[in-house]
């Protein structure tokens, strides 16, 4: 009976402390808020500016975002104004560096994952982007793929889904590609950047159109 009594007291104290913490709107630049769905507590921070290095000390990732929010109840993280650079050693066969710029982005997180693991000091891009994570880029998006420091293909569009590990891109919105001496516009795309195999679609809004420029007007 005594143990039960103390158990109840401790539990109530823990609940009371949690209520105080989560009812506070701001705590050291981190904002906690209840998810409108009632599922979990969301965590927001003003922005991220992160550089990550590999074991040899070479820069491998750079991430800069506006407001970042984690929704553990929905297994989702969202970012305002995302700029992500992925650097790869040139010696590797499939080495491609990417530069991504988007008005916003969403990343699906592990189901039921602890949102606090995404605190800046604990964020591992290598870990995140080496899994089957897809990044849904929102709004106006640009993605530049580079080899040997030179851009060899550019993508511009709306709402582009990116799979960094598999080097795949897809969209069902307007997309424009500059590749070699061609500029192509379409309304849907599936692209495999390792195989360099792209399929582009037209729809009711229009066809796929390619313009091949004469030699003196090479774009890339």
């Amino acid at each position: 009976m005594k143990i039960l009594k103390w158990g109840i007291v401790i539990t109530m104290l823990a609940v009371f402390a949690t209520a105080i913490i989560f009812s506070t709107q701001k705590l050291s630049g981190v904002v906690f808020s209840k998810d409108p769905s009632g599922k979990g507590i969301n965590v927001s921070i003003d922005g991220i500016n992160l550089r990550e290095f590999d074991r040899e000390g070479q820069l491998s990732y750079r991430l800069k975002t506006g407001k970042a929010t984690w929704y553990p109840g929905r297994s989702l993280a969202s970012f305002e104004r995302l700029q992500l650079s992925i650097y790869r050693e040139e010696e590797k066969e499939d080495s491609q560096s990417w530069e991504i710029d988007a008005e916003g982005a969403e990343i699906a997180t592990q189901e039921g994952g602890n949102a606090l693991i995404f605190q800046t000091s604990n964020l591992s891009l290598e870990q995140l982007l080496s899994t089957d994570t897809e990044i849904r880029l929102k709004g106006n998006v640009s993605l530049l793929a580079k080899r040997s420091g030179k851009t060899y293909i550019k993508f511009y569009g709306q709402d582009l889904t990116v799979h960094p590990k598999l080097k795949r891109l897809s969209t069902d919105q307007a997309i424009s590609i500059e590749f070699k001496r061609m500029k192509t516009s379409a309304f849907g795309m599936d692209a495999d950047l390792i195989e360099e195999h792209f399929v582009l679609f037209g729809d009711s809004r229009g066809q796929v159109e390619t313009i091949l420029y004469p030699k003196q007007r090479a774009k890339i």
């Binding site: 590749f179 070699k180 001496r181 192509t184 379409a186 195989e195 360099e196 195999h197 792209f198 399929v199 582009l200 679609f201 037209g202 066809q207 796929v208 159109e209 390619t210 313009i211 091949l212 420029y213 004469p214 030699k215 007007r217």
Partner: protein
């Protein structure tokens, strides 16, 4: 047969060459291709356009069902287009009444050598007449055309030339 064939070829050159000479195709202009679906296979060096495909370059235009472009050294080296039929048109904007139109089962274009290959039930039409043949090869630089007949199932099909005499007399 051979003399008639040679005569037909001569007439073809007579018909087409002056018209095309006055409509020199600017192959340095940008090339536009539109289609319902496009597939790039860079490892194979090919680009395939499918569905309501149209190609325009200056005064030259194609309307086909499918077009495949082969690339070498980042340039398109050969284009193969098929249609039911594949249609093409040369038209100088200042001389629209001298437009050359045509159709065939397939159109091949060697971009580097600047040679057109029209194959399978080829018809070329202009105000001054028409040519029907199994295959026509046209060199865009030398402006020489060669028409060939076909033998199918034992039935010889000659090159056929139709002349509009009034139009020829007006030249």
């Amino acid at each position: 047969m051979r003399s008639l064939r040679d005569f037909s070829i001569g007439l073809l050159v007579f018909l087409i060459a002056p018209a095309i000479q006055s409509q020199k195709i600017d192959l340095e202009q940008e090339l536009k291709i539109a289609a319902d679906k496009v597939t790039y296979k860079n490892t194979k060096g090919s680009i395939v356009y499918e569905g309501n495909v149209s190609l325009t370059q200056g005064d030259l235009s194609f309307q086909v069902d499918r077009l495949e472009a082969q690339t070498e050294d980042q340039k398109i080296s050969y284009i193969e287009a098929i249609g039911s039929p594949a249609r093409f048109r040369f038209e100088d904007q200042e001389k629209k009444d001298q437009a050359i139109t045509g159709q065939s089962g397939s159109i091949g274009y060697d971009v580097r050598k600047k040679i057109l290959f029209l194959k399978n039930k080829v018809i070329i039409q202009q105000k001054s007449g028409a040519i029907r043949a199994h295959q026509i090869v046209y060199d865009l630089e030398t402006q020489e055309a060669t028409a060939e007949s076909a033998e199918d199932a034992g039935e010889a099909r000659q090159v056929e030339v139709i002349l509009q005499v009034n139009e020829l007399m007006d030249r």
